[in-house]
């Protein structure tokens, strides 16, 4: 086990950080939010042109062939800047096609992802179904029927990866979003971004892989969420440390009150927990060692402990922490979004419990 990043991974992280630092400020975020579109295309173009979108795609289809740790670095940087681009859905879906798709599929689709002409997303969650590996959406003779919820960027993506059940085997398949046999409904979300409900009614679908691919998608999704949460909580904590060092009450900086200092020190440990467990899980996944236990532990930190971080950082800001006129709130909303994605604390513990009990 070695969590040191390679030179290439470090370079990717630095490049992403540089682009994001240059591009993102409060005004840019506000402008994107006003469009209700939640997509900063200019930033996306920069990611594409500097090769970041292809970084974790294999070289034969135009990518740079980096691994899941590089993916974690990219998503962490996004989280640090709360950048509204479809990075997670596109990269995770593309990497799934890359790993499990036929060469035909890979060659026809992935170069267009890498060069920015196409976007991907995924649809894995169903209403009141906590079992990722047991979708209710059916796949039969190349057609899928069922309803998926909380799909990100479905209005921008060209194709969507859908988990479905083929007899008794879960499968991942890919669906063209222009297919008329799809009904798309926007839903509001706490993060402010539209999330989509997709209903498929005998919609044509191409199978990408079987049980193994669904399992892999589940794992990489969780690791990716943890990676974004890592970035989100890192910045929220940094903002809080600097706010409490500057703001004075009772004639002294807030951070000189031990109740504040100690609480923030606890959050440093919480963020550290997210970091270590996320990298550990990502590393195992990247070298194809069974990673489920580590992934669930990471997601627990990235939900349960992240909620604690969200509240502590908000709270130490006083009224500023619940106001939309101060930038911290975006981090709180992202935090909550990720916390509740694919199961919050208890659901994760439940899965971990059944994993431990059956091993």
């Amino acid at each position: 086990m070695n969590f040191d990043l390679t030179e290439e991974q470090n370079e990717i992280a630095e490049l992403a950080a540089r682009i994001l630092d240059d591009h993102i400020d409060i005004e840019v975020l506000r402008k994107t939010e006003e469009t209700q579109d939640w997509f900063d295309r200019e930033l996306w173009e920069k990611f594409v042109s500097s090769g970041l979108i292809g970084a974790t795609i294999k070289e034969d289809v135009g990518g740079a062939g980096l691994d899941i740790l590089a993916l974690v670095c990219l998503l962490r940087a996004q989280g640090q800047h709360v950048a509204p681009i479809p990075l997670l859905p596109t990269l995770v879906s593309a990497m799934t096609v890359d790993k499990f798709g036929t060469d035909d599929k890979r060659e026809s689709l992935l170069p267009e992802i890498v060069n920015g002409s196409k976007l991907l997303t995924f649809a894995s969650q169903e209403f009141l179904n906590d079992h990722f590996m047991e979708p209710v959406t059916s796949y039969e003779n190349g057609l899928i029927t069922g309803t998926k919820i909380v799909v990100e960027y479905a209005n921008h993506a060209d194709s969507v990866l859908v988990t479905a059940i083929d007899g008794d085997e879960p499968v991942v398949c890919i669906v063209d979003l222009k297919d008329p046999n799809i009904t798309m409904r926007a839903t509001d979300s706490t993060r402010g971004e539209p999330l989509w409900e997709l209903s498929f009614e005998k919609t044509a679908a191409d199978k990408i892989g079987g049980r193994e691919s669904v399992y892999w998608l589940f794992q990489i999704l969780l690791v990716s969420l943890c990676a974004v949460q890592l970035g989100v909580t890192e910045t929220a904590l940094k903002m809080t440390a600097s706010y409490t060092s500057e703001r004075e009450q009772f004639g002294r900086p807030l951070a000189t009150f031990q109740a504040v200092t100690q609480r923030l020190a606890d959050q440093f440990i919480n963020v550290g927990g997210i970091r270590l467990t996320t990298f550990s899980a990502a590393w195992r996944l990247s070298v194809d060692i069974d990673a489920l236990e580590d992934i669930l532990i990471a997601k627990w930190w990235a939900s349960e402990r992240a909620t604690e971080i969200a509240h502590a950082t908000q709270h130490c800001h006083g009224g500023m922490g619940v106001s939309k006129d101060y930038p911290l709130y975006r981090y709180t909303l992202w935090n909550k979004h990720i916390t509740t994605s694919l199961g919050a604390g208890t659901q994760t513990l439940r899965s971990l419990g059944s994993f431990l009990a059956s091993n």
């Binding site: 969650q125 209403f127 009141l128 906590d130 919820i149 909380v150 409904r185 926007a186 839903t187 509001d188 979300s189 706490t190 993060r191 999330l195 409900e197 703001r247 004075e248 009450q249 009772f250 004639g251 009150f257 109740a259 504040v260 909620t307 969200a310 509240h311 908000q314 709270h315 006083g318 009224g319 922490g321 619940v322 106001s323 939309k324 006129d325 709130y329 709180t332 909303l333 909550k336 979004h337 916390t339 509740t340 994605s341 199961g343 919050a344 604390g345 208890t346 659901q347 513990l349 439940r350």
Partner: protein, 409 residues
């Protein structure tokens, strides 16, 4: 007082008939609590709805039950109010926007108002005709509210108020406000403050709504641009504003902690309903969370009972208000966690127009404000440490120094 005198007071004094009068009224005028949660109180529709509800309540002689009839109250006892609150727990009273008027400003008027002030303000406050807000916090003075800088200077028969307040809940629909301002900067910070009643329709009072993380605009920035008020709008004695502020904050803490506010009323029953609807009521983890909340809400009621009993015995609420507030803030967070576990993905996204789902999600975001509003958890803990446990105070290097000699940012 005309309409009030026609109410059947004599017949509702005994418990049985009082109870049935209350139930009749509630059945007629509001909805039973279902799975819905109250969320945003700043919607203009809700303010309207609140006002007309309160008017009916007032007409029925059921508003502000323990306050004197002379000033528009019910002329009954605290016991009656308690019974009312107990019965009303099962109903959704649309009176959120009156939370500050009745929880904080009304008891202050009652306790510190001159006869003239009581005559002028109490009845309209009780009937909901006029809505009040309270203005302590400033950009530079939150936890250290005693260091506030809004000035009130005497000019003949008037006071001239200048300065900025922030986080003022409900100022955008308030008609009147209780404002703490500095009347003598040469005194130590706690000593030179006074409380004033300010008319919010005055054009020199400028209200700028602030957006809240939960999506609504519940609170505001308020600017006083040389606002002139007559000298009979001073509440309590000159330079005694800190004592009044402490009483008022205690009323607030009692309200937040001991029940009443939409964020802290008993909500486990609604959550149990929700768990049933979403078929999660047989999940042992969820059941455990619900039982835990049920117990904690029961304990809160006991705490509230103690606080109200001491208030009923004529005591100004003391540090037990801090205990109630601290407990209420913890409860709000536990409730948030439990509700998010139960709603699952619906807490993240909801069908546009699905108000119920949206309210759960938003209620969850509002929980973090409870630990800040009315004095943060740390401030409450300090009060408990100093005033309940008798621990030594944190050393204050500026103790006794005049306000204007202390540096502040």
């Amino acid at each position: 007082m005309q309409e009030n005198d026609q109410t059947p007071h004599s017949s509702i004094q005994d418990e049985e008939s009082f109870r049935s009068a209350v139930v009749d009224f509630l059945e007629e005028n509001c909805k039973q609590i279902g799975k819905s949660e109250s969320g945003l109180d700043d919607d203009p529709e809700r303010v309207k709805e609140c006002k007309s509800f309160q008017k009916e309540l007032f007409k029925a002689g059921l508003a502000a039950l323990s306050y004197s009839k002379e000033y528009g109250g019910g002329g009954l006892t605290k016991k009656h109010q308690e019974l009312f609150d107990e019965i009303a727990r099962d109903w959704r009273l649309p009176n959120g926007p009156l939370y500050i008027s009745h929880g904080m400003c009304l008891p202050m008027l009652d306790q510190y108002g001159t006869d003239e002030q009581k005559n002028t303000f109490m009845k309209d406050c009780i009937s909901g005709e006029k809505i009040w807000c309270q203005l302590f916090s400033e950009p530079g003075a939150g936890s250290d509210v005693a260091s506030l800088s809004t000035r009130a200077s005497r000019d003949g028969d008037e006071w001239v108020i200048s300065g900025q307040k922030v986080w003022t809940s409900g100022a955008h629909y308030a008609d009147l406000g209780m404002v703490v301002a500095r009347t003598d900067p040469s005194l130590p910070k706690h000593k030179g403050l006074s409380m004033f009643i300010v008319d919010f329709t005055d054009p020199t009072v400028e209200v700028k709504p602030l957006k809240q993380i939960s999506g609504g605009s519940g609170f505001n920035e308020v600017f006083f641009n040389e606002t002139r008020i007559s000298s009979n709008r001073l509440l309590g004695d000159l330079n005694q504003g800190w004592n009044l502020a402490v009483s008022m904050l205690m009323f607030e803490r009692v309200s937040i902690g001991a029940g009443g506010g939409s964020l802290t009323a008993d909500r486990t029953p609604a959550l149990i309903e929700l768990a049933k609807t979403l078929d999660k009521n047989s999940d042992p983890c969820i059941r455990q969370m619900l039982s835990d909340l049920w117990i904690r809400e029961k304990i809160r009621r006991f705490i509230g009972q103690r606080v109200r009993d001491s208030a009923a015995a004529g005591l100004v609420p003391g540090p037990e208000g801090s205990i109630a507030k601290l407990n209420g803030s913890l409860l709000a967070r536990l409730f948030r966690n439990a509700s998010m576990e139960i709603v699952g993905t619906s807490g993240q996204a909801w069908k546009i127009g699905d108000d119920d789902a949206e309210k759960w999600a938003i209620g969850c975001l509002a929980a973090s404000g409870v630990s800040i509003a009315g004095g943060t958890d740390e401030v409450q803990r300090n009060i408990i440490g100093e005033r309940v446990l008798g621990l030594p105070k944190e050393p204050d290097p500026f103790k006794g120094a005049s306000w204007d000699s202390v540096p502040r940012n």
